[in-house]
Amino acid sequence: MTVDMSQFLETFYEESFEGLDIMESSLLNLDAGAADEEVINNIFRAAHSIKGGSGTFGLDAVASFTHVLETLLDEMRDGRREVTGEAVNLLLQSVDCLRGMLSALRSESELDQENIDALHSELEDMLHGGAGDVSVSEKVEDTNTGSASDGSGWQIFFRPLSHMLLSGNDPVRMLKELRELGELSVEVDTSTLPVLSELIPEESYLAWNMILTGAASRELVDEVFAWVDGDCELIINPIEKQADIAEAAENNNDDGVRGELLNDRRMESSDRRKSDRRSASASAGESTSIRVGIDKVDSVINLVGELVITQSMLGTLGEDFDMSKIKHLTDGLSQLERNTRELQEEVMRMRMLPISFTFSRFPRMVHDVSQKLGKKIELQLLGEQTELDKTVIEKIGDPLVHLVRNSLDHGIEAPADRLAAGKPETGILLLNAFHRGGNIVIEVKDDGNGLNTKKILSKAIERGLVSADANMSDEEINALIFLPGFSTADVVSDVSGRGVGMDVVRSNIHSLGGTVSVESKPGVGSTFTVKLPLTLAILDGQTVSVGNEVYIVPLVSIIESMQVKAEMLNYVAGKGEVFRLRDEYLPIIRLHEAFGVESKVMEITEGLLVVVETEGKHVGLFVDELLGQQQVVIKSLEENYKKVEGISGATILGDGSVALIMDIPGLIRLSSIQPDLRQSA
């Protein structure tokens, strides 16, 4: 048997990316000149873990780079180096660099050696020529010589638990780190090492008694064992208690000094792990795996247990069934349905992650961009714990970055302009996430200049996107920035700088089954609202029939369904059939025409119109009849067949037949209906 180290490596990468996120968010919280010690400790711990892990896996480039970083952080932690804005920026760049290195190593692509070397030498320069008095390496050397004579140091007893080696932690590496802290003498205890034939080679059987002489702090010694909290028995005591400890280490019981020390240590470890987990949960990062709370897993196991009981009950009923037991059967089937639905909901919950995974990238972005643009911007985050599907979380990142970037670049004004306009010097950018009606809504709101509707309209007319005599509301005009015709640089400079790539943002959000809209007031600010489904795996749908086909209309898009009378119908030249709904005319899409199927009902008055909404626009879908509502599991049409315009996926119905799921925005495009068709009646 060979151990597949790649599984540990993947965990290392994931934890390192989380560590980098923690470093980044902590660095952004550092106040130059008055740094919080605990914040620096957080950063140091993350860097130290990355260094340790990279050394274990032989990722020498990462280990060497992190070593310098760690040294710098250690000086800041000890108060020997001032936390300056320059240092924070350099550390932030180093975080980026490490992220790049780890990504490259993970994908087995080439490292950006030039950038690594440049930053490495900048870190070295700061270390040796900066505000710090003495570098850590010098300190260790001094310690080594000085400490041996005064006899101070630490007595350490270390026994890895049997599984520790399998977690990728290696005593060789750890003892090497200890040796860097001072003079180390080691005595191995092989008394529990079994005979070769009974030895499980990946398990640990050894223990070490060590004496570390020197002036290394307890914290530095603790850091060496930071990765094995809970995976070992560990006693660290000042050298003065040497006799007690040696005695206790010999006694392999959990009582006495050793027992107390172990308990203390385990409690510390547990607290630290909890706090690390809290930090990690608030950080971002795309990954191929997901961490699930044990409560969610337990809940699924309970539900599976109930499902098995129901199945067993139905099985027993089936062995000796007669019509007198029909009630038992229907009861059992209801229970089965309930169990299945609950199980489905719980499993879906396992994929849910807080949106903080996406939001956490923005503090850094706002910090960098505002510095670059010379603007003062305060970022406010609300609803960070709002949960949505992991896939949606990973895919919504880029569109949100685009929206935030636009607000920073072009929405919020320069400090002087804001003061001149009677606004506070510091602009506010608010990211707000919340649930509404089975969807998640994310708002990107700024108190900047707002959109210039006059310029947008004139540009749209100039580009032929709307007619010169179009009677449009401000809201409709603002929505024009999402049209592809607006995504050019020259438009940006003319229209308050807004509009770059907004069509790309919209199409990305559409691909997630979501919508985006904008509200803006000149001089007051803009709010971009993104509405997304909670999951991409299951959808609440309305089944409708068109000819012999069954289609699914996403329930979230449906406003109402109705039979229309002939007098409600009209025809607008060049724009097709419309019908009057209360005080407005809505375009009609005949689904049988859109999908090229034969319909049993040709007259609109004989069928039904399903009024659907997308991005604040309404259209009527002409169908033969409504069949029912149900949750459907979405299967990708693109993966199993090919992309079909107007269709977002497929599902398998209860009778085994396949039904296609409608993509409302795509359907509108397919039917060549302009979303701005709606006119006042």
């Binding site: 180290m5 080696l165 060789v172 191995v188």
Partner: protein
């Protein structure tokens, strides 16, 4: 079956010398290889075959590998099975030294 019968017909008066096992260690000589080597060494120990280990190429080793080799070295002494170190890299020696296993392993003097 008598010893003689087991020895076969080739050399009736001298027992056949068991073939020595030679282990050429890879650059990365660690937990990822420990299980396979454990199997080989256990077999060699049971068969009483002498073992020669060449660790000159080792650039990285770890506690799992050094621990298993230590168990083998100790058991081979007890069973009078020969363990020879052909050559040992500096990294291998330093790591064994660091874990205080160089004595158990009886690494050759530099």
């Amino acid at each position: 079956m008598s010893n003689k019968a087991r020895q076969g017909s080739g050399s009736p008066n001298t027992p056949r010398k068991k073939r020595a096992l030679t282990v050429n260690c890879e650059e990365s000589f660690d937990i990822s290889r420990v299980s396979a080597l454990h199997e080989k060494l256990t077999k060699a120990l049971n068969e009483g075959r002498s073992v020669t280990i060449d660790a000159i190429r080792v650039e990285r080793t770890d506690a799992a590998m050094l621990q298993m080799l230590s168990a083998f070295a100790r058991d081979s002494r007890e069973k009078s099975v020969t363990l020879k170190w052909k050559s040992v890299s500096e990294e291998f020696r330093n790591s064994a030294n660091l874990l205080d296993l160089d004595g158990v392993l009886e690494l050759p003097a530099v």
